[in-house]
């Protein structure tokens, strides 16, 4: 059966959807990704949909599901590269992709994942030394 490859890069998983998504493929991606997150202890998932020329309610639901499942598994999801015509259509369709973080391109998406990871690490450090300080405040120096 057809599969969408999932690449591991450091603490992140990368997925580029380059085929016409039929429903079963969308479901198997959802399963594969959740399994990979738990196996690799990934902290972030980046999904590039720049090759998708439509996102209908089924694919939208898959993206929303992946985002919530990965959140439960302590990983952040960001969807990147949505074509403008797809975005316009999604909104008219009534799909707002609530809970799905988006970025314009892969670079911006990686930035979102890295900074969310830094935030989490910073918050976990009670004394808040490195990450928090760098981000929030020269005032305290």
């Amino acid at each position: 059966m057809e599969k969408i490859p999932i690449l591991k890069m450091g603490e992140f998983l990368l997925v580029t959807i380059q085929v016409d998504m039929h429903d079963r493929l969308a479901l198997s991606l959802q399963d594969d990704l959740t399994r990979m997150i738990s196996q690799t202890e990934a902290r972030g998932v980046l999904i590039d949909i720049s090759s998708l020329d439509i996102v209908d309610s089924f694919i939208g639901r898959m993206l929303a599901n992946i985002a919530s499942m990965s959140r439960v598994l302590d990983a952040e999801t960001v969807v990147v590269g949505m074509q403008p015509a797809v975005a316009i259509t999604l909104v008219e369709l009534g799909l707002s992709l609530t809970g799905v973080r988006t970025a314009l391109h892969v670079d911006a998406g990686m930035e979102v994942l890295r900074s969310s990871l830094n935030d989490t690490n910073g918050n976990e450090t009670i004394t808040g030394k490195s990450a928090n300080r760098d981000t929030y405040g020269s005032n305290f120096d």
Partner: protein, 133 residues
């Protein structure tokens, strides 16, 4: 209304849904639809094609290129499935009896210019949509 070309495609399984998306994309591009309008009509077709396969138990879709006085694309989805007991309810956002988001029917309606649905319990459902250039 001049119909310049008509074709019928089967709508039985999931790969058929993908094939119809492709064909609708091709025809709407040939008719000179803008990219946004192409995307809207392809997305509407995807929703309705899935409904025909999943809820209607399969059927056919008829694709009509309309030419003059206005240019447009009309798609007719027809199945002989169980029918929709309450069409008003089915058109409402968030209504679903299946695994979708309940946006299919209402969402498809919002993406096209004309939308018509005829459904009889026990006989089947026919949805006709038209998107004008």
């Amino acid at each position: 209304m001049a119909v310049t070309s008509t074709e019928n495609l089967p709508l039985v399984s999931e790969p058929d849904v993908v094939a119809i998306r492709r064909r609708v994309r091709e025809i709407s591009a040939q008719l000179g639809f803008t990219l946004v309008d192409q995307t809207k009509v392809v997305t509407a077709a995807s929703e309705l094609a899935r409904n025909t396969v999943i809820y209607g138990g399969g059927g056919i879709v008829q694709l009509e290129s309309l030419n003059g006085p206005r240019v447009g694309l009309r798609l007719i989805f027809e199945d002989k499935g169980p029918g929709i007991p309450d069409v008003e309810l089915a058109l409402r956002n968030g209504f679903t009896t299946g695994s979708g988001m309940g946006l299919g029917l209402g969402g498809a309606k919002r993406l096209v210019n004309d939308f018509e649905i005829v459904s009889r319990t026990g006989e089947g459902t026919k949805v006709t949509i038209t998107r004008w250039k």
